[in-house]
Symmetry: D2
Subunit: 231 residues, 4 copies
């Protein structure tokens, strides 16, 4: 796995064990930090195992709804000094894009999202695009910014994209693309565009390593990689 290779290559880390689905977790017992990119069906058990042994966890597995997050919060509360990072996206560029979009959202009259992916993708828009729209919508609500202006009266169905909490989101599917997203903000004669391009599938590795390096210093449960970036 890509993270294992990278840990192995890093001078300040040591790879204790790489555990596949049929291996015993006991191999991980000597570890200080466990990285979990597994499956929603097993991740809660893995976390219980780690936290109860005082091993920090960096988790990229999907499926953490508010209920699951609450359960993890209780777990780490019972074991002070053991920390867990759960992040829906470990791509640093993707995380920064979302963060900057959220910060800029209230300064511009208009904002829309265009996400572009390979045509094998099943959902449209992407989870990242929906999350970005929610963050932008929340920032604008808090600042009292109204909806983006839109005088459309004649529309061919779907032309103006999906409406995610009042933010228009467009999903483009093109062969040869991987995962890309553009947030376009405009007003007062200027536009600001924040774009993220994933060029290969190993793009979550630097973020996972950052998690491993920093997890000791962030007590309890941390949700989202942005909390570990100095922003």
């Amino acid at each position: 796995m890509e993270v294992c290779k990278a840990v192995h290559a890093a001078e300040d880390m040591e790879l204790v064990a790489a555990v596949d689905k049929d291996d015993s977790l006991e191999l991980l017992a000597p570890a200080e930090v466990v990285v979990d990119f597994t499956h929603p069906d097993v991740v809660m058990g893995n976390l219980e195992w780690c936290v109860s042994r005082g091993i920090h966890a960096v988790v990229g597995t999907t499926g953490f709804d508010p209920g699951r997050l609450e359960r993890v919060r209780e777990m780490v509360a019972r074991h002070p000094g053991t920390n867990v990072l759960i992040a829906p996206n470990f791509g640093i560029a993707a995380v920064l894009m979302m963060h900057f979009a959220q910060q800029a959202a209230k300064y511009f009259e208009s904002v829309e999202i265009v996400e572009l992916h390979h045509p094998q993708k099943a959902d449209a828009p992407s989870g990242t695009a929906r999350r970005t729209a929610e963050l932008i919508a929340e920032a604008r609500r808090k600042a009292g910014v109204g909806p983006s202006p839109d005088a459309t009266t004649q529309e061919i169905d779907g032309a103006r994209g999906a409406d995610v909490e009042g933010i228009r989101v467009h999903a483009v599917r093109i062969s040869a693309l991987i995962a890309h997203q553009e947030v376009i903000l405009g007003g007062g004669g200027e536009t600001l565009t924040i774009r993220h391009d994933t060029m290969n599938r190993a793009s979550f590795v630097p973020g996972a390593l950052l998690g491993v390096r920093r997890i000791r210093d962030v007590p309890g449960l941390t949700y989202g990689l942005e909390a570990l970036l100095d922003l």
Copy 2:
């Protein structure tokens, strides 16, 4: 008007008259070429007046459906040597974008269109985007290229854009923008993007001047500026 200023400034042309809606067309009698950016209600009368006097016409007025084009074709057939250019778009960059998109269309598995305009625009997608989609669809049909691949099974309504003859078209509305369009083609590990940006409202002037310079050499009725470009 911008075209008048430009004709005045051009060394190889002379401005005979600038006629507004309450002026007599007779002022135009000495002209060799008349440029008509008027209104669908009056343009057919204007053309009749010009063609019957042997004056060439360069027309940017909208509203030419197949019926009107046929009537103009008959007009010029009755006056051999008098030529008419009617173009739905006089922006050279816009016309080239459409032409190149059409040429490239059959070489890529996927193609989609993203058009971006100011939020005062009433129609979505733009006429230019619809026309581009039609040209692309026609080119792919002729070459026997099937639909762009798309595995979307979960969609928030509108995320995948409008369907114009099988081509997905997305319309973005952002304050501070003017008129922009991007055609994205992809396949075989590569993408090709052809983008057009209108930066101000005088962008039709160079195309109109090109029409004035070339109209003498293209007998009869010519539809579309691309016919005057050496492509």
Copy 3:
């Protein structure tokens, strides 16, 4: 002037006077805030006049080097409660672009700047691009990030751009463009692109109004519009 029109249009402000170079400053005496977009030759006198009368100033005039800034700092120190904002760039999108680029700089192995302007521009790269490069270079230095990797051994002179404190900056000059800049950061399989487009020359207005609205709340001398944004 654009700012005057905008102040006039704003519901929460009143235009006291618009003073041109031959007018007396006394017209401004009733104002609470003066906006100064004048000339380096007169701006220091204007500031002295305002500050000594307890009038806040929002200044977009160029030419503030460290010496001049120090003199303004002394001025406002002698008149507590009177505030001055001096900003080299009042475009909010431009200011956010610089700020985000600076924040993101240490997370990516590579970073370069491409600025694009109309071909009448005399300096290359633009002041904004040079300033962005300095901010990025400083952020990377502080974080201990080394130079962007570059294996170039054969170069046609200038191909790799200008070197501004170790950051490569490319200046593109294209007719029809206005003022645009792109900061491209990359590493770990991802890129992040932050782009700013000025679509017309009034793009400094919203930033100037923001300055007028906020100047009362930021004591003393403030340099740079970013200090007034909640970032």
Copy 4:
């Protein structure tokens, strides 16, 4: 090799043999077409071997200067009915980008090239960018279009890029990028941007297959993939 896999997968082709550097060329004797992506040191011998046996060749090997092209032209002249395609670039998107840039070149006052690659690249600008600049320069010369306007008087060395036959070319090197190029043309209030992105190293495959399918129909020596596209 990627081309072998693709030939194998194609329904209208059969893979006769895949020959590595230590294998005998005799394995290729039953082939109708040979694809040569080898090395400048051996390609001329390979071609002599193929052409003398009446086997068509599709060649992506580099190093064909005018002298070598002349020798190949003589080879095929001695064996009528045997055809050779030599192409410096087999990426269809890249080839179309160059072709469209060349076609558009004379319609815009300004044109510049920005190429972007991974930082391991040794030459700046890329061969593709240099070739594009030459094609653009030639098209403008033929049409009597003067140099792009440029009022730069203060330049930090290199900011305005390399000068390739009067066309400015900028080379950006960013980690995570692969091979990308943008040709920006502008004038009359509009810009046209033609961009090519290589997303993986197999992007030459569709072009190579196109060559294999069409080589029978283009007599003699053909230089450049564009000759096989219907443009």
